[in-house]
Amino acid sequence: MMAPFSADQGDGSQGGKGRRSIWSIGGGKGGSGKTFIAVNLGICLSRFGEEVVLIDTDLGGANIHTLLGLSFPQRSLSDFINKRVRGIQDVVVDTDIPNLGLVVGAQDLLTAANPKEPQKRKLIRHINALDVDYVILDLGAGNSFNVLDFFLTSQNKILVVTPEPTCIENTYRFIKSAFFRKVKRVISHFGVKEIIETAMDQRNERGIKTPFDIIELAREIDESIGLTLERELDSFRPKLIVNQVRTKSDIDIGFSMRSAFLKYFGISMDYLGYIVYDNDVWQSIQKKKPLVLEFPQSRASKCINEITLKLIIDKPLLFDSER
């Protein structure tokens, strides 16, 4: 049943047309559950009567449609990137779920999967102009500039991590790359830009590793640039979801990563919550039916609802002693 829309949605701080909120679901590693989470968060929002568009930005590896049980639609991001349509709204296709639209990623690897800089900028501009309440970007794996730029354009920058060393390691690398990419765009000073470039190489000879190192070096060049960088660091604020948790200590990894982010990178991160490892998730994926619809009472569905709530009211999960 569709919920009624009031004509005036203007003062909702999230949602409300013309004030769309873009949420991106990223994190360095493939297989951590980004697409699964993007789909289910989108459905949770759509059930409030919000208009939601899911965009599969995994250029080259698009598969959201599969999770929704749809065959590959007639139109995709390729048509937009190759200028076969005028706007991104022309490639939004309906799903079987009320209020939920979908843009599938490009599948032709050679051109659309590697859009040139101006094409990508145009795509981001169009995403920002979409006339809906929420846009959810499902990001691809890795930390290529394509992935990072979509991540940086969103209001809610959500990282998905599973409690495995490799995945955690990739997440740190991802967030570092994203931050460096972000500041590189706001800084025009040649010398500082060079420092950031250097830092982007993981094993650079100057030993620049963290935002702190960059800020320190930038300060030596120009105090005001140092301040700008600090402000960027403060406003970055990514959010974290730990997926596939099996134990209490898996849950705590979110809090530990929050501490590590803050202490080592100086980046404040909100821990949104966790999703339990649940056989129903596997089943729903096998059935190509979204979890929150197929198994609304499952433990994992409840976790996803909790996370959606935290995102709507913009409050993170708190450690026991913080409550």
């Binding site: 829309f5 909702g12 959606t308």
Partner: protein, 198 residues
């Protein structure tokens, strides 16, 4: 924001300036776990030397903050430096979100059996001179959802967790006890749910 090695002992342990010894002990144990060589959260992040440096700082922080004399000396040092005391919580609350509720109104004693329903909440809100727009600003909750909440349009909430969460935020925005309000409000919801099941 400062490097771990330059942070105050309080920031380092992520505790407030007034934290009790017990809180400090807990925070220390937690931090040591996070920054142990076997920690999943940090092993890929820090080189052994960096890890060592942070651990030295943590140990220093613990040693000083759990010793009354050393702590007060340290505190005086901080005050002297004009170190700003970090608020322990709610970094998300930006300026301009405060609802000007009359001081006197915030401590209204409600009888224990008072039923917080959609309409009684609306009544309380109006008597405080607060409009929905202000609640939206403070809670980030879409005005439409707040209207549904006051009208008890339970059918529009996809799951109980949202209704409960929104009611608690709404109560908090009016300085009411969130837990109490939510428990009472949800009685109507459960009633409605039972009736629907028939």
């Amino acid at each position: 924001m400062k490097r771990a090695t330059d942070q105050t002992y309080y920031d380092l342990l992520e505790v407030a300036r007034g934290a009790s010894t017990e809180e400090i002990q807990k925070a220390y144990r937690r931090a040591k776990e996070i920054f142990s060589p076997h920690s999943l959260a940090t092993y890929s992040l820090l080189e052994p030397e960096e890890l060592k440096r942070i651990n030295v700082c943590l140990d220093d922080a613990y040693r000083v903050l759990t010793d009354e004399r050393l702590r007060s000396e340290y505190d005086r040092g901080l005050d002297g430096l004009g170190e700003r005391v970090l608020p322990g919580e709610s970094p998300g609350t930006a300026a301009g979100e405060v609802i000007p509720i009359r001081e006197a109104a915030t401590g209204i004693p409600f009888p224990n059996d008072f039923r917080f329903t959609g309409s009684s909440l609306k009544g309380i809100r109006e008597s405080l001179g607060v409009d929905l727009k202000q609640i939206t600003r403070k809670t980030k909750i879409n005005r439409q959802y707040l209207e549904w909440l006051e009208e008890e349009r339970f059918e529009y909430f996809p799951a109980l967790v949202y209704l409960r969460g929104f009611v608690m935020e709404y109560a908090r925005a009016l300085n009411l006890d969130p837990q109490k309000v939510a428990d009472s409000y949800l009685e109507s919801f459960h009633q409605w749910q039972n009736e629907r099941k028939g």
